[in-house]
Structure formats: C-alpha cells, structure tokens
Amino acid sequence: MNVSIELYASLMKHLPPGKSRFRRDLKVDDGLILNRLIEQFHIKPEEAHLVLINGHYIDAEERDDRKLAAGDVVSIWPPVAGG
C-alpha cells in the first residue's frame, strides 16, 4: 500500500533524496505498524517526540500497535517548542 512520511527539523537528515522538502511517498506492506516505519528511517524513539497520522496525534504508547492504512500521512518532529 502507499503511505507518506514527513520528517521535520533535525529529522530531515533521515530523508532519502527526493524533490519534496519534507515528504516522501512510500510503498509499504499492508498493515505496517507505525513504529516499524519509524525504525526504517533510523529514528530513535526519543527523537520521535511528536508523531501525527493525518494530522492527529499518536501517543507513544499507541505506536507499537497502530497499523497504518493506505494513504496515511505520517508526520514526525523531534522535541521542539516555540511561542
């Protein structure tokens, strides 16, 4: 199935070459678990501070159970803040 991953801020270094600034479109196994996708990009658990699927927050405890669906957009930030 097709999903997309977006990596921001210091996590951009994990992105393979591509045209988009943040996003890469991927083909993954059906029902891939969110944390397995994160691991594929060599992102440490403590680096994946803010994780969204289609804009919705996914708590760290859910990420080992959460299955991705076709068309999902996974967005990940390291610990950041502002204001």
Binding site: M12, P79, A81
Partner: protein, 616 residues
C-alpha cells in the same frame, strides 16, 4: 543582584528625576517586574484615565533575578495602561537593557506626566538626567540607537527607544531595545511617545550583589542551567530552529489560522518555516538564517538573526537592509505571512526588519493588514482608500507597499495604524477584527486548540499567547499531553499556566525556560536570591495574586465578563477542512468553570473572599 531596593521616578512634566526606596512590603507579595510594577500602576493611576494622556504612567521594571547569572535573567517589562485595549499593558523584552538597568542600581523607572518637548533619559549608575531629544524626534529606532552611541561614545550603552510609528500615534507601537528586541505588544511605545520620551539610554557598572544567600543561589542556578542544557527542547530544538519550528507543527495539527482566520491551514507554511530559513537560497547560496542569538545570560539562545536576499525586490536598492538583523520569530512569521496569505520569506523578513527599525508590533500589524485584505476582497475597502494598492490576500508587493506607507505615515498607513478593531469599525465591519479586548490574536486557532480560546478570552492584556501557553501541553506534550480538541480540563490548565507565567514574568526570567523548568526548578533560584517566602507554594500564590490584581485593574477600567469573548467567526464558523474540521471554540463551556476555579463571580468579578485569600 536581587532587588536593588531603589526606584527612579521621572516626572516628565517637571523635568525631575528622584530616587526613592522600593516598597519591600509589596516586593514580598508581587516579586518584581510584571507583578510589582503592575501593583505600582494600580496604586498610582486611575484605571479609567486616558492612556495617551499625562495621567497614565509608564514603568520599566526589572525582576529580582534580572542581571544575575540565572539563565535568561535579562528580562524587563514595560507596564502602563494600553492605548490599544484600554486594559493593563505589560510587554516583556529580552536583550541587554534590563540587566544594564540593574547594573546601574535601579529596580524600575516610573515615568509620569508629559514633557513639553522631546527628551531622552540618560542613566549612568546614580547619575540620571533628562536630555533634549529634538534631534532624535523623527528618527528611526536604528538611527536613534546609533546617534546615542555616537553621542556618548560608549559601546556598552544600552538603548530602548521608539520609532516613527510611535511618534505618529500608531496604536500598537513598540519600545525596541538593542535594535531588535522589543516590548512589542499593546502599544507601550505609543504611550512612551505620547509623553515626548524618545529613548532611555542606560549604562551600569555596579555589578551583582545583594543576594539573600549567594552560595545557595549559585547552586540553584547551576542546577537550573543543567536542566536547560540536557532538555532536548531548550538544549537543542530552540537554539537550532528557534520558535519558527512551530510553523509546520501548528499547520500539521490543523491549528494554523490563515487569511484573517477565515481559513485554517496555510498552503505556503513550509516556505516560511524554520526549515526554509535554514536552506541556502538560489541567488547567493546563503540561508535566510545567519545565526542564532541569545539575550543576556541566556543559555538557550533561540533568537534568529537573518539576512534578506539582496536581489529581492523589497530591498534591491536599499543597502541599509542588506546586513544581518533580527529575523522572523514564529508569531511574526505567522501574522505577516499566513494571516496575509503571503509565503515570500524575503518579503516577510524585510517587513519584520521594518517592524524593528520603526518599532511596531508585527502580530497586531500583520493581523490588521489581514483584516484590511479581507475587507478589500469584499469590496468594503477599495483602491481609492489604499492609494491604488491591490490589497488582496497573497499580494506581496501590496503588503510591502502598505508597510512602507505605515512607516511614512502616508496613504493607507494611518488607517493601518489604528489596529484592526478601529479599522474594521471605521469601515463598518467590526466582526472582521480578530481581537479580544482590542488586541489581535497570535498564531494558534482557538477552534483547533481549545485551551487557547480560553487563554485569549481571559488574557488580561487582550488576545495573547504569552499569558498561558497551553499549546505547550495541548500540542507539544510539555509537560504532559492534553487533547487539543477537548474543552474538559482546560479551565484548570489555563489557570495553572496563567499563574506560573505571571510569576516567571515577575522574576526577570524568560518564559521559554518553562519548556524544561517546573516551579521546582524556578522557586529555589528566587528563594535563594530574595527575602520572603518563595517556596513553590509561595511562588504559585504570588502568581495567582498578580493575575487577580491585573484583573481588578481591568474591572476598574470598565471591563466585565462580557469582554472575555471571542469574535463570532471563531465561535460559529467551523473549521472547513483538515484534522480539526468541524470544530468551533467551546469557550461557552469553559468560561463559567474558569470563573468558578478562579473564585470569581458569574460575571467574572474577583470576589471579596478571593481578594482576602490572596491579600489583595
């Protein structure tokens, strides 16, 4: 140096400068800076006075930790009645001026009355004098700073001043120190200019002293710095990306307002984000971001120093803007960018330079232009009013042109100088002003982030994110994650953030420390430096006391619970798409609970019992 225990009172009508002892009874209740100066203001002015008349006072105040080695301890605040809102104004600034004032031996300066002619205040330790500023009137902030440094031949002189927008009566003019740090919100610069006070120039050489328990203080400071360094946000995220890293975050979660909050979600967000600022540009291979920067004693250093592409149309023939200067922070980038529908990073950086150069609040300014753009698109404002400018959302050239008109006080500039509330009222569309108590919203849509709706509605200085930054919890998960779409639990969350922030703003510290520090990190630093009970409980009570005192000032100025409101757009027009689709602000559910938790009446008045409990 904890409190210097000295206040400088400057009567501009009489031209006198006098020293008086700090009221230590009040200091032990209100700490310093925001809290203590607000207490002085509450006691000394009629809250119903004309904000731009001689009866208003303007206080520049440091906190007891300002000037010490505590991390971020360089803050000062400007307190007065706001001409933009009519409520209490308290604008906080970093840079180096606050610490310098402390080194000169003063906790605060109270300006009263109005000078007959333009003056500036020169403070050199105990030697203070008002000097003629006729030659500075009509000059920009940057020119004024340069002239005063040339005049006094002291590179360590620190200058806070107003630019031309303040002189011209722009209702959201700032006081800018160190050329690009600003007490930016609520028009405190307009009040300063109304008193014919152009600048305050300070040099202090008296160093640090007067700490209650210096050894314990240094241990607490050291521990605090360790926490900041080890924390991923304050140790790595903020120095590398600054506040601007939020542009994509807030857009991603469906809470980035766009085009005068008509929309939520901005398609150009990534082009004006922190990540974009760090990319080499095509023309010269250099990024917009030149370096990060820190204020006095700061170990975070989130500040952005930027350059504009020299070939960009906005600065092509203007070499004075080709150097590095204060760059875009998140709130400015949102207001100047997403809210106007513009994603041209160079143009926004140039306009931000103008905000610094002539001293005006980029949040209120961007939001005011956004309101004008919506009225232009609806045909309420036409090229007749704008002087031929097609002021549509996304029109970069038009935005640059009206900004230059504001600075020059020409064409459509004087209309924009009103702020969005008065501008929208003037053109018969008051509902298009995105304000609370007359002050414009910052960069978080209260339909998407429920706690921010309550934050804005109840903020004592009008819409503001820096009175209780619940984004920290609702979006970023700091210190704990709460669901941003939930209204439940938000009254308690907002109250806790408001009280903590009031205390931090009264200490001389930067609120950004609270991304890593809890009160158990902050209280020991204050307690070791200051006389009095500054335990965690004592600090929280002081924060609550300060919040209630500000509320009582506003009540006396004529505000009621009816002013704790949001524009109808945010209560009725649901978000059209994205992860927060269908949401409106649920302020109606949260506000009564908030009043109850605060110990206020149903119409938002501080009860006698609450006043007694907090020794108000």
């Amino acid at each position: 140096m904890s409190w210097t225990r000295k206040i400088l009172r400057v009567n501009l009508s009489k031209g006198s400068c006098t020293s008086e002892p700090l009221n230590m009874e009040w200091a032990k209740q209100y700490l310093g800076q925001r809290g203590l100066a607000s207490k002085y203001l509450s006691e000394e002015i009629d809250p119903k006075c004309d904000a731009l008349g001689p009866d208003n006072k303007l206080i520049m105040a440091t906190g007891p930790l300002t000037g010490t080695m505590a991390s971020t301890a360089g803050r000062y605040s400007v307190i007065c009645k706001s001409p933009l809102t009519g409520a209490i104004a308290c604008s906080n600034s970093g840079g180096f001026l606050g610490a310098e004032l402390k080194f000169a031996g003063w906790d605060m300066i109270i300006f009263e009355g109005k000078s007959e002619k333009p003056v500036y205040l020169l403070v050199q330790d105990d030697k203070v004098e008002l000097r003629d500023a006729s030659h500075l009137w009509g000059k920009t902030v940057w020119e004024t700073d340069d002239i005063l440094h040339q005049t006094h031949q002291d590179p360590q002189l620190r200058v806070a001043c107003v630019g031309r927008t303040a002189e011209n009566g722009c209702l959201y003019a700032a006081i800018v120190n160190d050329k690009h740090r600003a007490a930016g919100r609520s028009g405190v610069g307009t009040v300063m200019a109304s008193k014919n006070l152009k600048a305050v120039a300070v040099r202090g050489t008296q160093g640090v002293g007067n700490l209650e328990d210096a050894k314990t203080f240094m241990a607490a400071v050291d521990a605090g710095k360790g926490v900041l360094a080890e924390n991923a946000v304050t140790g790595q995220g903020l120095p590398a990306y600054g506040t601007q890293v939020l542009m994509n975050v807030i857009n991603g979660v469906g809470a980035l307002p766009a085009r005068n909050m008509r929309d939520v979600g901005f398609e150009g967000a990534e082009n004006i984000s922190a990540e974009a600022m760090a990319e080499p540009r095509a023309s010269d291979g250099k990024p917009n971001l030149t370096t990060n920067a820190g204020c006095f004693s700061c170990t975070i250093a989130c500040g952005r120093i930027s350059t504009v592409d020299k070939t960009h149309f906005s600065v092509k023939d203007k070499p004075q803007y080709h150097g590095a200067s204060g760059g875009l922070e998140y709130e400015a980038a949102w207001a100047l960018g997403a809210d106007t529908g513009i994603d041209d990073l160079d143009a926004l950086t140039y306009v931000n330079f103008l905000c610094n150069e002539d001293g005006f609040d980029p949040i209120t300014y961007g939001a005011t232009v956004a309101a004008a753009m919506e009225m232009f698109e609806e045909g309420v404002i036409t090229t007749k009013e704008t002087g031929g400018i097609e002021l549509k959302f996304g029109n970069t050239e038009a935005f640059v042109a009206v900004t230059e008109a504001l600075v020059a006080n020409e064409g459509f500039g004087p209309d924009l100088a009103l702020g969005s509330k008065r501008l929208c009222e003037k053109y018969g569309r008051p509902e298009l002003s995105m304000t609370v108590k007359g002050q414009e919203f910052p960069a978080y849509d209260p339909r998407g982030i429920q706690g921010m709706g309550l934050t804005y509605a109840t903020s004592n200085r009008g819409a503001c994110h820096l009175r209780s930054y619940t984004v920290s919890s609702e979006v970023l998960g700091l210190p704990i994650k709460t669901e941003m779409g939930d209204a439940e639990g938000k009254p308690e969350l907002v109250k806790a953030f408001q009280d903590v922030t009031a205390l931090v703003d009264s200490a001389g510290l930067c609120i950004f420390t609270t991304f890593a520090w809890g009160m158990d990190n902050i209280a020991p630093q204050i307690d070791a430096a200051c006389e009095g009970d500054w335990s965690v409980e004592g600090c929280m009570e002081a924060g609550e006391r300060i919040w209630n005192m500000e509320r009582m000032f506003n009540t006396a100025a004529g505000f009621t619970g009816k002013d704790d409101n949001l524009p109808p757009r945010l209560m009725k027009e649901a978000i059209k798409s994205g992860p927060t689709e269908g949401q409106v602000s649920r302020l109606d559910e949260m506000l009564p609970q908030y009043y109850q938790i605060r110990g206020w009446t149903e119409d938002g008045t501080v009860t006698k019992e609450t006043q007694q409990r907090l020794s108000l």
